[in-house]
């Protein structure tokens, strides 16, 4: 590993690996869902269905890219670009290994939160500009859900930040050398996990795009590669949330020395991706008001108490 942090080569490699991983996840998810639901899943194209993603990509690239005549064209076209940009930018502060990463920022955790909050615009503009009742309903739900869960997401991280004494992700990983934060911050981890699912609006919290109620939600009017960008961005968001959980609670690249650090990172991330896919296969979708009241009446007080107790313990042991 001759790469330096922030060199053009390492930035290119990280972007490439992230996007290819996200694209491969489309097949991996379908295969794993098939496995857990005791059916076959896509297994015809290539070795055990491994080329299914190529077939999907060819289909999505050659589909007609249609902008509805009644849509607000400007907002309609930029909406999918916003979500791709912000999720990929979030990877800039993730430390993949001691010598692999894009930037080493002192505001790393806050930067990810800022990008997550800007991601809400993509979904809202997509729904609003479509001028379609299902899309509008979907994006209203998405806006309320994302703004609410951002709050608990931020507060649940503060326990880790307080224990480390820094917002720098690299320092957070290094301070976990004598014990991962999953043990002292278990409640924070659970809240972050739930908020992460809600923030990337995946099942069981995919209420903004619940097919049975509101068609496809905010991307009802999207087709071709514009839809593809929403679709791939969701998978990149999944990789991002899994990487964040790994970095903040599971010691990032740390692990026994028989494997290189970046492999440990990849293994941990994959375990969480598989867990999220299992959740999709196993947990039913809650009702919309249940989601909101669960967040504000249960997760918010819990995360505040968690932060308070963490603060008291840190102060009393100093």
């Amino acid at each position: 590993m001759e790469l330096e942090i922030g060199s053009a080569l390492s930035i290119g490699l990280i972007l490439g690996v992230v996007i290819i991983t996200a694209a491969l996840l489309i097949t991996v998810e379908r295969r794993l869902l098939g496995f857990w639901q005791e059916r076959l899943g896509p297994n015809r194209v290539g070795w055990f269905g491994s080329l299914q993603v190529v077939a999907d990509m060819i289909k999505i690239f050659t589909k007609e890219d249609w902008v509805p005549p009644f849509a607000d064209k400007f907002s309609f076209v930029i909406a999918p670009g916003i979500i791709m940009t912000v999720v990929l930018l979030s990877f800039a502060v993730i430390p993949f290994a001691p010598n692999i990463g894009v930037i080493d920022s002192n505001i790393g955790v806050l930067f990810v939160l800022a990008m997550a909050s800007l991601g809400a615009y993509s979904v809202m503009l997509g729904g609003l500009s479509s001028d379609n009742k299902y899309a509008l309903l979907g994006s209203l739900r998405a806006a309320a859900q994302m703004v609410s869960y951002e709050v608990f997401m931020g507060i649940s991280l503060l326990g880790v930040v307080a224990l480390t004494g820094s917002f720098n992700m690299r320092e957070i990983v290094e301070s976990q050398a004598d014990g991962w934060y999953i043990i002292p911050q278990f409640i924070g981890f659970v809240i972050f996990l739930i908020a992460g699912v809600a923030e990337s609006h995946r099942l069981p919290f995919d209420i903004p795009e619940a097919e049975q109620e509101i068609c496809a939600g905010y991307h009802t009017e999207y087709s071709g590669m514009k839809f593809g960008m929403f679709f791939v961005a969701e998978y990149i968001g999944l990789v991002l949330i899994s990487s964040l959980i790994t970095v903040l609670f599971f010691g990032g690249w740390l692990g026994p020395a028989f494997l290189p650090p970046v492999i440990w990172f990849a293994i941990k991330v994959f375990v969480f991706i598989a867990f999220f896919i299992l959740m999709r296969a196993a947990v039913p979708r809650p009702r919309y008001d249940q989601l909101m009241s669960y967040g504000w009446l249960f997760l918010l007080p819990l995360s505040l108490v968690n932060l308070l107790v963490t603060g008291v313990i840190i102060l009393s042991t100093q």
Partner: protein, 161 residues
């Protein structure tokens, strides 16, 4: 770094002018978000990364989302666009432009007499927090009381009998 400051500043000014001139309210809001993000970049360049991120999280990421949320509920169409266009008549520009030009002139005279330092010092998260919970603790408490009052009022207004 100073080039970044001027570029971000120019974007902020142009985007803010576009907010006023834009008749499509959603596009106007997008320009406002752009302007806020440009201000965040300015903060970062001037050595205040914490303020920069808070600008992005709080203003661009939360308050503007709520603005957009309200606009989505209102269902504004061509009708409001025409109304905006009527309000932006050339005659209405004269008096505000003269007054704004006078203010700008005054501001430029004041700024030209200040001897400022172009190499800013870095103010990190720790320094800002220490100030907030040290000398400015009263202001923080007052702000939280204001927010609490707003919360109670919103709860009262939204309560259904």
């Amino acid at each position: 770094m100073i080039a970044l400051f001027y570029i971000a500043g120019a974007i902020a000014v142009i985007a803010t002018v576009a907010v006023i001139l834009q008749t499509n309210i959603v596009h106007g809001l997008l320009y406002l978000i752009l302007s806020l993000l440009a201000v965040a970049v300015i903060f970062y360049v001037l050595g205040a990364p914490f303020a920069a991120v808070l600008e992005a999280i709080v203003y661009a990421g939360a308050i503007m989302v709520l603005f957009l949320f309200v606009i989505m509920m209102l269902n504004l169409g061509q009708h409001t666009r025409d109304q905006e266009r009527d309000w932006l008549s050339p005659r209405g520009w004269i008096a505000p432009s003269i007054m704004a030009a006078i203010l700008l002139g005054q501001l430029l005279t004041v700024l030209s007499s200040i001897d400022y330092d172009l190499v800013p010092e870095q103010v990190g998260v720790m320094e800002v927090s220490a100030l907030l919970f040290g000398p400015y603790v009263l202001a923080v408490e007052l702000a939280s009381i204001l927010l609490l009052a707003g919360l109670v009022a919103a709860y009262h207004l939204a309560k259904t009998k």
